[in-house]
C-alpha cells in the first residue's frame, strides 16, 4: 500500500487544511523542534487509534477555535492510498466540534470512515478495522510506527522476534503438521499396543517398558522444568546485571553530559566576555572617536580656510616688516631680500637649529642645492638667522616703544595653524577608521551568532541531561544497591551457567534413555504378532514425524540465516566505512521446537548482545533488522509493503552517519516517512532557514514543517503549522 495523500485538518497545531503529497519512497520531513514534526506523527496515530481518553481540547487546534467566527468547525485526518491492484483506498477519522460559552464539545460522534474504489470505478465501504489493516496490518504495526529511537528496542523483546519468525517463516506450518502427525501417532500406538498385549509375556514386558517410558517422561519433564527455572534465574541475574550496567551507563552518560554542559557554559562565558569587552557602539562613537569617521572633508575645508588666512596674514606682516625695516635702515642686501615679491615665511621657520645646520653644511636641504660660502643663497640663509636672533633679543624700552606699532593686533590665526598642524596627521588616521569600524562590527556580529549557537547547544544539552535524569529514577542509594546486586548477580550467574550445563547433560542422558527405551518398545511391537498393518503404519508415521521435526528445524534455521543476511546487508550500507562488525541472529540450542532467538553483533571475534552496545550502533542494528523484516514480509506474499513512519529515529547519529542512513533509506523501495530536526537552523533573531542547500538534503520528497510567524509558544492559539513542499 502506498500512501498518496495525507490531509490534516485542525489537528493540534495544524490549523486549517494541511496537505502533504508524499512520494513512493523516502519522504523527509524537516523542521525545528516544537514546530509540528511529532504532531504529524501523532495525527497518524490518532487516525489509527482514535481519541480514547484524550480531552477534546488536547486534539482540536486552538488556533482554529480562536479564529473561527462561527464557533464551530471540524477536525479530521485523512490518508489516501493505492494498493498493488490499483484499488484506491481512503481512510478518514473526523468529528465536528462547537464552542459555546467557552465550552468545547463534539458536535458529532467521532467516526472512522473508509472507502475502496476499484479501478473500474466501483466503490465500496470498508469496515473500520479492515481499512486500517490495509495500511497497517496489526502484526506489522509494531514494525512500522516508531516514535523516537527508544521504541526501536522492541526487537529486544524475545517474544517479538519469535512472532516475527512465526509471521514470516514457513516454520509455523511445520508445527501444525507436526501436531497433526503426533495425534495420529498416538492413535496408532494405542492400536499396536493392544495387539502386543495379546501376548502375556509381551504384555508384561510392554507394561514394564511403558512404565519406564512414563517415568522417563516425568523425569524429562522435571528436568525441563528445572531448565526453565534455571533460565528464569539466569534471565533475572542478567536483568540485574544489565540494570546495574545501564545505571552505570546512565551515570556515565550523565557525567559526560554534565561535563559537556560545564564546558559549554565556560565557552559561553568566554564569548560573552569578548562581546562585553567591546564597549557599546554609542560609547565607541565618543571614546574611540568613531564619530569622526567622516570628518576628513570638513577638516580639509578648515585647513584651506586656515591656510588662506595664514597667507594673508603673512603678507600683511611682511609688508609691515618691510616698512619697519626701511624705517630702521637695515642693510641693503637684506632689504633686497625682504623686497622680494613672495610672501616670506615666518622668521622662525625653519627653526634656529635647522638654519644653523644648513649654514654649517653650506647646503639648502629644502631644495637640495648647494649654498657655498659667499653665494647669494648662503647670504640669504645667514641673513635670516641673524634676523631671527635679533628678534629673540630682549628689547630695550626704547625699542619696545618704537615697536609699539604692530602689524596685527591678535594671534588667532597662528592659533588656528597650530590646530592645523596638530590635527593634520590625526585626520589622516581617520581614514582607517572606516575599515576598523566595519571589522569591529563584523567581529561582534559573528561573536553574537556564536553566542546564540552556543546557547541553543546548551539548551539541548540541558534537555538531554533532564531526559537522562528523568529516565532513571535512581537515587545515589539505589545506584549503590544496584552495584552491589550486580556483584551478587554476576556470581550467581556463573553458578547457574554451570547448573545449566549439568542440566543439559541430564537432559541429553534422559533423552538417550527415552530413545533406548523407545527402541525396545518398537522392537517389542515389531516382534509381536498381528496388527501388522498398524505396525507398518506406525513405522511410517514415526518416520513422517522425524522428517517433519527436522525439516522444521531446518526451515527455522534457514529463515534466521536469511534474516541475518538481509539485516547485514542493510547494516553494512548504514555503516559504510566504519566497521562495526556484523549482525548475527542465532537460535539458542536445546529448546526443542521453540528455541530462543538472540541478536548479537560480532566484532573482532567478540560477541555482544545488541543492547550492550553504544546507542547509535544499537539503533542501526535494530533498524537493519527492521528493514530486513519489511523486505521479508513483502517477499512472503503475506503482506503488501506497508509504509513506515519514524519520528526522529536517529538523533543519536552523528551527521555523517545520519546522512548515510538516509541514503540507505532512500534506496529502499519502501515508502518511508522520517522526521528530522537536523536540516533546519534558527538564528539569533528567530529567523529559520535550511541548514543545507536543497540538493544536499536526502530523500526523493522533502517537506518543511514550520509554525507560521509570529507565534507565542506559550499560547496554543497562536500555533499554526504549515507544510511546505521543498
Amino acid at each position: 500500500m502506498i500512501i498518496t495523500n495525507i490531509h490534516i485538518e485542525n489537528f493540534k497545531c495544524y490549523a486549517g487544511d494541511n496537505i502533504l503529497n508524499p512520494g513512493s519512497r523516502l519522504n523527509l520531513l524537516v523542521g525545528e523542534n516544537g514546530e509540528g514534526k511529532t504532531v504529524f506523527y501523532d495525527a497518524i496515530l490518532w487516525l489509527i487509534n482514535g481519541s480514547h481518553q484524550q480531552d477534546i481540547r488536547e486534539i482540536v487546534s486552538a488556533f482554529a477555535i480562536k479564529n473561527n467566527t462561527e464557533g464551530k468547525g471540524s477536525i479530521s485526518v485523512t490518508i489516501r492510498g493505492e494498493d498493488a491492484d490499483k484499488n484506491k483506498i481512503k481512510l478518514s477519522r473526523s468529528f465536528r466540534w462547537r464552542e459555546t460559552h467557552s465550552i468545547l464539545q463534539k458536535d458529532s460522534p467521532e467516526e472512522l470512515r473508509a472507502f475502496l474504489t476499484k479501478p473500474n470505478g466501483e466503490r465500496q465501504t470498508l469496515k473500520e478495522q479492515a481499512a486500517i489493516q490495509l495500511f497497517f496490518p496489526p502484526e506489522l504495526m509494531k514494525y512500522s510506527l516508531f516514535k523516537g529511537e527508544g521504541e526501536l528496542r522492541i526487537l529486544e523483546n524475545e517474544d517479538s522476534l519469535k512472532n516475527l519468525v512465526n509471521l514470516f517463516s514457513d516454520a509455523r506450518f511445520f508445527e501444525r503438521v507436526y501436531d497433526a502427525t503426533k495425534t495420529i501417532q498416538g492413535a496408532l500406538k494405542t492400536v499396536v499396543d493392544r495387539s502386543v498385549a495379546k501376548n502375556k509375556k509381551a504384555k508384561v514386558d510392554l507394561e514394564k517398558l511403558q512404565k519406564t517410558e512414563a517415568a522417563n517422561g516425568r523425569k524429562k519433564a522435571s528436568i525441563l522444568n528445572k531448565i526453565k527455572d534455571n533460565e528464569r534465574q539466569r534471565e533475572n541475574a542478567e536483568a540485574i546485571i544489565n540494570d546495574a550496567e545501564n545505571a552505570i551507563d546512565k551515570a556515565e552518560e550523565l557525567k559526560s553530559t554534565t561535563d559537556s554542559i560545564k564546558e559549554k557554559k565556560e565557552e559561553i562565558e568566554r564569548v560573552k566576555k569578548i562581546i562585553n569587552a567591546k564597549p557599546s557602539l554609542t560609547n565607541s562613537l565618543f571614546d574611540d572617536l568613531w564619530i569622526l569617521k567622516d570628518f576628513e572633508p570638513i577638516f580639509m575645508e578648515f585647513k584651506s580656510k586656515v591656510e588662506e588666512a595664514d597667507v594673508a596674514r603673512r603678507k600683511i606682516q611682511s609688508e609691515f616688516d618691510i616698512e619697519q625695516g626701511r624705517k630702521q635702515g637695515i642693510a641693503e642686501g637684506i632689504s633686497t631680500l625682504l623686497d622680494s615679491e613672495d610672501t616670506p615665511l615666518d622668521i622662525n621657520v625653519p627653526s634656529q637649529q635647522v638654519m644653523e645646520e644648513l649654514i654649517r653644511d653650506e647646503h639648502c636641504k629644502v631644495c637640495d642645492r648647494p649654498a657655498p660660502k659667499g653665494s647669494s643663497q648662503y647670504e640669504f640663509m645667514r641673513g635670516r638667522l641673524e634676523k631671527f636672533l635679533e628678534s629673540q633679543k630682549p628689547k630695550s624700552n626704547r625699542d619696545i616703544e618704537a615697536n609699539q606699532e604692530q602689524a596685527l593686533k591678535h594671534t588667532f590665526i597662528r592659533e588656528l595653524i597650530s590646530f592645523n598642524t596638530i590635527f593634520s596627521q590625526k585626520t589622516l588616521d581617520m581614514r582607517e577608521l572606516g575599515i576598523k569600524i566595519k571589522e569591529s562590527e563584523k567581529f561582534l556580529e559573528s561573536r553574537r551568532n556564536d553566542l546564540f549557537q552556543l546557547e541553543s547547544e546548551l539548551d539541548e544539552l540541558e534537555q538531554e541531561r533532564n531526559n537522562i535524569v528523568s529516565q532513571s529514577d535512581d537515587s545515589e542509594e539505589t545506584l549503590s544497591r544496584k552495584l552491589k546486586d550486580h556483584r551478587g548477580a554476576s556470581n550467581d550467574l556463573s553458578d547457574w551457567k554451570d547448573d545449566y550445563r549439568d542440566l543439559q547433560g541430564e537432559l541429553r542422558k534422559i533423552e538417550e534413555d527415552i530413545s533406548a527405551n523407545q527402541t525396545k518398545i518398537d522392537k517389542l511391537r515389531d516382534s509381536s504378532a498381528g496388527a501388522s498393518t498398524e505396525k507398518n503404519n506406525l513405522t511410517l508415521i514415526n518416520d513422517a514425524l522425524k522428517i517433519i521435526e527436522e525439516t522444521k528445524k531446518k526451515e527455522l534455521l534457514t529463515f534466521v540465516q536469511k534474516l541475518t543476511e538481509v539485516s547485514n546487508d542493510y547494516y553494512k550500507r548504514m555503516n559504510f566505512d566504519n566497521f562495526t562488525g556484523r549482525i548475527s541472529i542465532e537460535l539458542e540450542d536445546g529448546k526443542g521446537l521453540n528455541p530462543r532467538i538472540n541478536i548479537f553483533v560480532i566484532t573482532d571475534e567478540r560477541k555482544m548482545k545488541a543492547k550492550h552496545l553504544n546507542k547509535s550502533t544499537e539503533t542501526s542494528v535494530h533498524l537493519s533488522v527492521l528493514f530486513a523484516v519489511s523486505k521479508l514480509a513483502e517477499s512472503s506474499d503475506l503482506f503488501e509493503r506497508t509504509p513506515i513512519f519514524m519520528d526522529a529515529p536517529v538523533s543519536s547519529f552523528g551527521e555523517t552517519k545520519r546522512g548515510q542512513f538516509l541514503e540507505v533509506l532512500s534506496e529502499l523501495e519502501n515508502q518511508i516517512f522520517i522526521t528530522s530536526k537536523d536540516y533546519t537552523q534558527i538564528d539569533a533573531s528567530g529567523k529559520i532557514s535550511l541548514s543545507k542547500p536543497l540538493n544536499q538534503i536526502p530523500g526523493q520528497n522533502k517537506f518543511w514543517l514550520r509554525l507560521k510567524r509570529p507565534f507565542n509558544d506559550e499560547q496554543l492559539s497562536t500555533l499554526n503549522t504549515e507544510i511546505q513542499t521543498l
Binding site: L281, F286, I298, F302, K305, A309, H410, E415, F419, F423
Partner: protein
C-alpha cells in the same frame, strides 16, 4: 599669554530649541551617572552633552543646518563646552578635548569669517565667537530634527545597539 579663540569658544554654553527638550529627556540620562545607569533607565546617551555632540555631527555630516526659529525659546544644560567630557575617576584633563577641538574646527570651516580683519582688530573676537556658536547651534538643531524624525518614522530600526552609529554613518550617504 594672549587669549585663545578656542578657549573663548569653549567657555560658551551652547543652547538648543526648548521645543526639543523632550527629545533630550527621552534619550539622554540627566543627573550624571554611568553606562549602567543609563542602560537601566533606557537611555541611549549617558549624558545630555553627548547627545548634543552626536546631533551636531549628525547635522554636520548630513549637511543639515537648521536655524532655531526666532519665536522659539532657547535653553541649555548649564555646562560650557570646555566642561564636556570630564568623567570623574578618569584622567584629569577633559577627556573630550579632541572632540571639542574637532567641533571647533568644524565651526571654523563652516563659518564665513574674515580672519585677517579679526587679526587686525577691525572686528571683535566676541562677535566671531558668536557666529561660530551660531554654526554650532544650527547644525545641532538640524541633527536633533533628523534624530526626532528617525525615532518617529522608523522606530524599529532605532531599537538596536548599533542604530545610532548606523544613523550617523549613513548621514554622508543619504545626501
Amino acid at each position: 599669554m594672549a587669549e585663545e579663540i578656542f578657549h573663548l569658544w569653549a567657555n560658551k554654553v551652547p543652547k538648543y530649541d526648548a521645543e526639543l527638550k523632550s527629545l533630550f529627556e527621552t534619550h539622554a540620562n540627566y543627573g550624571g551617572g554611568d553606562e549602567a545607569r543609563a542602560i537601566a533607565r533606557g537611555k541611549e546617551f549617558e549624558v545630555a552633552y553627548e547627545m548634543y555632540i552626536y546631533c551636531f555631527f549628525l547635522g554636520l555630516y548630513s549637511k543639515t543646518k537648521r536655524a532655531i526659529p526666532e519665536n522659539h525659546s532657547k535653553i541649555d544644560f548649564s555646562m560650557s563646552i570646555s566642561t564636556w567630557g570630564k568623567k570623574s575617576g578618569r584622567r584629569g584633563r577633559s577627556d573630550y578635548f579632541e572632540i571639542q577641538s574637532y567641533m571647533f574646527m568644524a565651526c571654523v570651516a563652516e563659518t564665513q569669517t574674515n580672519w585677517t580683519d579679526l587679526e587686525k582688530g577691525e572686528i571683535q573676537v566676541d562677535d566671531v565667537v558668536k557666529t561660530l556658536m551660531k554654526t554650532l547651534e544650527e547644525f545641532t538643531n538640524g541633527g536633533l530634527l533628523l534624530l526626532k524624525e528617525a525615532y518617529q518614522e522608523k522606530p524599529n530600526s532605532m531599537r538596536h545597539d548599533s542604530s545610532l552609529a548606523n544613523l550617523i554613518f549613513q548621514a554622508k550617504e543619504d545626501l
